[in-house]
C-alpha cells in the first residue's frame, strides 16, 4: 500500500472519530442546565405580558429549532459549528467567532514557544545522556527529569513566581502585556515576550522532564542495534552514527509520545494560563464556565477536539516520513 492510500485511510478514519466525538459533545451541550430559549429572551419574561411572551417564546423556539427531533437538531448544530457559527457569547455580548481570535493567537504562541524550547533542550539532553549512559551527567539529568515530570506544573509555576517575580523581580507576575502600554511594533513584541518568559519556562520544565526520558530510552535502544555496529565497523564518524543512523531510528517512538504530549500541552496550559492570567483559550474556557457562557465553552471544547485530531493526522504524516515500514504495513 502506498503512502498516499495509507494517509487517506487514516484521514477518513479521523473524520469518523470527529463525528463520534461531536455527537458526544452534542449531548453535553444538550445536558447543559437552563432553557436556551429563556436565556435568549433574557429579562423579557418579567417585562412582557404573559400571552405575548408565550407567543414570542414559541416563535424563538421555532427559530432555534429546539422542538425538532434530536438528529435534526444535531445536524443543524454541527453544520453551524463547521461553518464558524459558534453562537452568541452572553459574557462578551458578541458573537463567539469575534472574541476567540486574540486568545487563540495567545495560546498558540505560548504553546509554540514552549514546544520549541522543549524540543531543543530535550533532544539535546536525551542524546547526550544516552551516549554517555550511566555517567555523572546522565545520573544528574535523570534526577532532574524525574523531579520535573513528577511535580505538577502549577507548583513549578508558584515556585517560579516566587523566585523570579517576587524575590528577584525580573519578570512580571501575570498578564500578557504591560497595562496601559502604548508601545507598538518591536517594543510591543518585546513586552509580550517579557511577559511570556515565566509561563514558557514553567511549561518547558514539565515537558522537558518527560520528553528527555523518552528520547534517552529510545536512543539507547537504537544504539544497541546491529546496524549501529555495522556503521561503526564501516568506519563512519561517531557523529554520523549517532545523529544519522541512531537518531533517525529513535525518532519513531519519539513521534508517538510527542504527539500525545502536544495535545496534553494545550490542555495543560489551561492551568498555567489560569495562574499567570494569560489571556488564552484556557482562561477563556474557565471564565466561560464560571460565567455559564456555554457557547464559549463549547467552542473551546471543539477547538481542543480538533487540535487532538489534527495531532493524530500529523502523527500519521510524521510516521510516513520517519518510518518507511509504515508504507508496507496494512
Amino acid at each position: 500500500m502506498g503512502k498516499g492510500r495509507y494517509l487517506l485511510k487514516r484521514l477518513i478514519y479521523i473524520v469518523f472519530v470527529f463525528f463520534i466525538i461531536s455527537i458526544l459533545m452534542f449531548f453535553i451541550y444538550k445536558s447543559m442546565p437552563g432553557d436556551p430559549v429563556e436565556s435568549m429572551l433574557g429579562s423579557l419574561k418579567t417585562s412582557m405580558r404573559p400571552d405575548a411572551y408565550q407567543e414570542l417564546y414559541d416563535r424563538t423556539a421555532e427559530r432555534l429549532g429546539v422542538n425538532q427531533p434530536l438528529p435534526v437538531q444535531y445536524f443543524a448544530w454541527i453544520s453551524n459549528m463547521l461553518t464558524g457559527n459558534f453562537g452568541y457569547s452572553t459574557q462578551y455580548q458578541r458573537q463567539v467567532i469575534d472574541v476567540i481570535g486574540a486568545p487563540m493567537f495567545n495560546t498558540i504562541m505560548l504553546n509554540l514557544f514552549t514546544m520549541i524550547v522543549v524540543f531543543l533542550v530535550s533532544i539535546f539532553l536525551g542524546i547526550a545522556t544516552a551516549v554517555h549512559k550511566n555517567g555523572v551527567f546522565d545520573k544528574g539529568v535523570q534526577v532532574v527529569t524525574i523531579v520535573g515530570y513528577s511535580i505538577p506544573s502549577f507548583i513549578i509555576a508558584l515556585l517560579a513566581i516566587f523566585a523570579f517575580a517576587v524575590k528577584i523581580p525580573i519578570f512580571p507576575i501575570s498578564g500578557i502585556r504591560t497595562p496601559g502600554s502604548e508601545a507598538t511594533g518591536i517594543a510591543a513584541a518585546l513586552d509580550v515576550a517579557w511577559h511570556m518568559a515565566l509561563p514558557v519556562l514553567v511549561m518547558s520544565v514539565s515537558g522537558i522532564g518527560g520528553i528527555t526520558r523518552y528520547v534517552r530510552a529510545s536512543m539507547i535502544d537504537a544504539l544497541r542495534m546491529d546496524y549501529i555496529k555495522t556503521a561503526r565497523a564501516k568506519g563512519l564518524r561517531e557523529k554520523t552514527v549517532i545523529y544519522v543512523h541512531a537518531f533517525r531510528n529513535a525518532l519513531i517512538p519519539i513521534v508517538t509520545i510527542t504527539t500525545w504530549w502536544i495535545i496534553g500541552l494545550f490542555g495543560g496550559s489551561v492551568v498555567i494560563e489560569s495562574v499567570f492570567l494569560w489571556n488564552g483559550l484556557g482562561k477563556m474556557l474557565i471564565d466561560g464556565l464560571m460565567n455559564r457562557d456555554f457557547s464559549i465553552v463549547l467552542t473551546m471544547q471543539m477547538f481542543y477536539v480538533l487540535l487532538s485530531l489534527a495531532g493524530n493526522v500529523l502523527m500519521d504524516i510524521a510516521y510516513t516520513i520517519v518510518d518507511p515500514r509504515v508504507r508496507l504495513e496494512n
Binding site: 524525574i146 505538577p152 502549577f154 516566587f162 501575570s174 530510552a217 494545550f266 474557565i286
Partner: protein, 605 residues
Amino acid sequence: MAEKKKRAPRRSTMGKAAQRMMVGGMPQEEEEILQSPMRMALGTFLHDKVAMAGVFCFLIIFLCCIVLPFFYPIDLYYQDVTQANVAPGFGMIKVPSAMQGKAQDISVGSTFSVGLDTEGNVYEWGTFPTDKLKNIPSSEETGKLVMVSAGLDHVVAANEDGQVFTWGNDRMGLSQVPMELEMGGAHIKQLEAGYQISLALTEEGKMYNWGSQYLLNISYPEGVQGNIEKFAQSTNIVMVLTKDGEIVPLSANTSSAYTKIPEDIQGSVVDFDLTDESAAAVTSDGRVHVWGNNVNGTLNVPEEIQGRVVSVSAGRYHFSVILDDGSVVSWGDNTHGQASAPALSSAAKQVDAGYYASYAITEDGRVTSWGLDGYLMGTDNLGRDVFRRLLVGGRMTMTVGAISVIISTIIGILVGGISGYKGGKVDNLLMRLTEIVSSVPFLPFCIILSSILGNSIGETQRIILIMVILGVLSWPGIARLVRGSVLAEREQEFVTAAKALGVKEFGIIFRHIVPNIITVIIVNATLDFATCMLTESSLSFIGFGVSEPNATWGNMLNGAQNGTVIENYWWRWVFPSVVLGLCTISINCIGDGLRDAIDPKSKER
C-alpha cells in the same frame, strides 16, 4: 556435592564465616540459583536505593495522613477570621520567665498575649498580627501600669492614675480614647480590648466604648449606665452585670441565643463571661449556669464543680473557672488543649481565658498556661490550621487517586483483555473506542464535565464524580498495555491447555492470562496513581475538582494564585506543594523501580 562442601571453608572470608554462624551452615549459593522470577524481582527491587527511598517517603506520608488525623482532629466547617494567616511557629502561650513570680495581669489576644508584672513592666509574646503591636509606650510616658488587655490586634492598658493607653492597630477609631480616660483620674475597674473595639468600666459603674461599632452595636438600656459591676464581650454582643446582680445585654436586638438569660439567676449573679456562642454565669451559691448555642460542648459544665465555682472566664469556645479551693477547671472545645486545665502548684488568684488559651495566675504570682501554643504550619486566610488540613487533604488526594486508578485499571483490563484475546472485529472495535477516548482532550474535558455535572450535587457526590471522571477518561493507556501483553501470552501452552480443558473464554482471559501479566499491570497502575493524583490536584487547584470545605492538596493551593499570598504567606503554598511534590516523586520512583525489577532489560536503559 561432596567436593563443594570441602572447598567451601577455604573460600570463606571473615564476613562469610560470621554469616554462617548466624544462619547456620546452609549452602547459600545453591539457594540463589533456585530463586523464582518473582523473588528475584523482589530482591532487585529491595536493592534499588532510589525505589526504596521512594517507598520509605511515600509510606511516611501515607501513614501520617492516615494516623495523625486521629490525634489532630479537624472540623472541616470551622473558620475563624481572628486566626487568619498566622505564621507557623510556637510560643503563643510561653510566658516570659522574667514575669514568673510577679505577674499581676495577663490577657490573651488573637494570636499573642500581653502581660503585666507587679512593677508595671509590659511583656508581649506570641505571633503578632501587626508590627504596630511592638510599639509599646515607654514607662516614662505611661507611669506604672496596673491593668492590660489584648484584643484582635490591639492592646489597651491603664495606669494607677486611671489613664488609658492603647497601641497596636490604630484604625477604626481604636486610637481615639475618650477624653476622660485619656486625662486620667477615673478609677478604672475593668478594661477590655475586643474585636476592633475597646471597652472600659469605672468604679462608678460607667462604661466607655470606642473603636468600630460595625460588629457590636452597643446601646445602653435605661438605668444601666452608671450601675454596672462588670461587663463581658464576644464578637457578637456585649453584656453587663449590674450592681444588683442582674445580667443585661447591651443590644437593641433582643432575640439572640445569648439573651435567653435564665430568669431564676437574675439578681444573684456574681460573675459571668461570654464565649462566641454561649454565656456562663456564676451565682452566689457557687453554681455555674450556661445558656446559648452548644457549640463544641461549651454548655457541658462538669457536674462535680457545681456549687464550688468562684469566678469564670471565657475564650472563643471554652470556659475556665476557679473553684473555691483555688484549682482551675476548663471545659468546651479541646482542639488545642484549651479545655485541659493542668493542676496548679498553689491556689489560683485570677484566671484569664481568651481566644484559644487560658492563663492562671497563682497567689505567689506565678503563671500557668494551657491552650493554643501555635500552628505548626500556620493558618490559611480563613484561620484554618494548614497542618490539619494537610493531613485530611492528603487522605482525600490519595483516596481520589487510588479509586480513579482502580476504576481505570478495571476498565483497562476488561477492554485490553477481551480485545487482545478475541482479536478480529471485536479487537478492531475496542481499539477504535480506545483511540476515541484517548483523543478526547483530557484536562479541558474533565473541567467541563465536573463543571456541568457537578453543579447541582452535594460535596460527597462531587468527590465521587471526580473519581469517576478521572477513572473513565484515563484507561486507554492501560488497555493498550494489557492488549499487547495478552497478544503475547495467548499463544502459550497453558492457554491451549485451558482451552482443551473446556475453560470458558472469560475464564481463560481473566483467570489464566491476566494473573500472568499482573506485574505489568501493577507497574502501570503505580505510575497512573501518581498521574491521577496530579490531575486531581490540578483540577482542584483551578477550582473544578474537590470543592471546599473538603481539603485536598490541590485546593489548598487554590488560594495561593496571587502574588500577595505567594510573597507574604509562604506557608500557605510551600507546605502543600512540598508534600504533593514529594508524594508524586516517590510514587514515580517506586513505579520506575518496580519496572526495572520486573523487566531487567529496561534497567539497561
